[in-house]
Amino acid sequence: MASEQPFFDFAPIWQAKSLLIEGFGIAMFSAIAGIFFAILLGLVVAMMRLSRYRVLRAIAFIYTQLFRGVPLYVLVLWIYFGLVFAVGIDIPRIPSGIIALALLNSGYLSETFRSGILAVDKGQREAGEALGLRPWQVNRFIVLPQAGRIVVPPTGNQFVDAIKDSAILSIIGVPELMKIAQEQANMYYRPFEFYTVAGLLYLVAVILVSKGISRLERRLARFSREKIEASSDADKTVSEVGG
């Protein structure tokens, strides 16, 4: 007598819950670490793209094109398997995944940051220079804080993407949510249940992060409403962006 199989059975989910939670934690950790390094790298690359030196601009341009143009899937495999064979650098699974996420997202974020920096009124930089601040001080105290407010929403979107993209790290065996879900789905032969739960967990994370970002956005918006109309005087002309 074959025992009756229920059509849906979420009991295995409950049995695997600690594994799933752990996987969820690793997914979130990878995404957060990836975005953290992506923000640092993206900022450096954005400053390079705005540099007056052609060489720096060219390097930054190639960097952006490269990491925006290569699929994450390829990047992950290339770092984890490729580098060992090519140069003997053996990076463990989770760091490999984080590096891949950081590189990919830094490509996008550098463009976001660049446009954020350019969106700050030129008069702000001039006012800082006129006070006698050094170029790095103008960036640090005047331009970047204002650009920061502008780039919060797109950076938040990038973070959301990184959370979802972290699922791809399963291909190199990072024990994140998707990998765990796959293993458990196979073990219990319950793919629908496990993938549904995995999907819901990503969804919840994404919704929470989006909420957090828009709250942050509202808090920062309080002091940044001022818009100075563009100068109409023919005497006013472009001055170079330093950096």
């Binding site: 702000q124 006012a127 006698g132 002091f223 006013k236």
Partner: protein, 256 residues
């Protein structure tokens, strides 16, 4: 006559092929108030911005307190140019500037706007800086707005913050770039009075302005510019009675 504080020597500036300034020669003594007038597009603002190298001139030099500032042309002078650029903040710290569009820092309160230069350029500690900034803001009548953010201030108040921000650093000369042009008419007088007060305190000032009454009352000398050149320089009386045709045409079009 007081000793020369500031001198422009053969200064020229271009944007691409467009020549905006050529052969500018101007000597400004300590305590002078020089008003620069002329039709729009004549290079008045650019001249002002050449003085503190916000718009660095390609030709000529700026001599400030006996020290010459200029940039080198050839790429071979790359290192010399970097060195000169690294020195520019020192020049700018002695020159206060106020802009047409205020350019107050929107992410800082009024007092933080004024404190920034004091702490980062003058190296004051926060307490000293706060004290000086407060005094500076009181002087321009903003003693009750210290912790307000710019978005809560009127145009006139923002411009006062900008003036206080420049004055707090105790500059040797103040540059005013059409500082009342973006203001509502009823706020203009207040800012002009602020500038009159400064002038009578003996501050050296270079003022680009469309306010002819102000220029003729306050200036020690008036510079008339057209098409990127200084056409004529003189005392208000000399300019009022000038026979130079372009200056005549400009003045009669404005004064009627």
């Amino acid at each position: 006559m007081n000793p020369t504080l500031l001198q422009l020597k053969n200064v020229g500036k271009r944007f691409g092929d467009h020549v905006v300034l050529s052969e500018i020669n101007l000597e400004i003594a300590k305590g002078e108030v020089v008003c620069v007038i002329g039709p729009s597009g004549s290079g008045k603002s650019t001249l002002l911005r050449c003085i503190n190298f916000i718009a660095p001139p390609e030709e000529g030099e700026v001599i400030f307190e006996g020290r010459s500032w200029k940039r080198f042309h050839s790429a071979l002078n790359f290192i010399a140019n970097r060195k000169y650029e690294a020195q520019l903040p020192k020049l700018r710290a002695e020159i206060g500037m106020v802009f047409q569009h205020f350019n107050v820092f929107p992410h800082m309160s009024a007092i933080e706007n004024v404190m920034l230069g004091l702490t980062k350029v003058r190296g004051k500690n926060r307490n000293e800086a706060r004290e000086i900034a407060e005094r500076s803001l009181r002087q321009v009548g903003l003693g009750d707005k210290l912790d307000q953010y710019p978005e809560k201030l009127s145009g006139g108040q923002k411009q006062r913050v900008a003036i206080a921000r420049a004055l707090a650093l105790n500059p040797k000369v103040m540059l005013f770039d059409e500082v009342t042009s973006a203001l509502d008419p009823e706020l203009v007088t207040g800012i002009l009075d602020e500038m009159r007060r400064l002038a009578s305190d003996g501050m050296t000032m270079v003022v680009v302005t469309h306010e002819m009454n102000f220029a003729f009352q306050v200036a020690t000398r008036i510079v008339f510019m057209d098409a990127g050149r200084i056409v004529t320089i003189g005392t208000p009386d000399e300019i009022r009675n000038t026979t130079e045709p372009r200056a005549r045409a400009f003045l009669s079009s404005i004064l009627g």
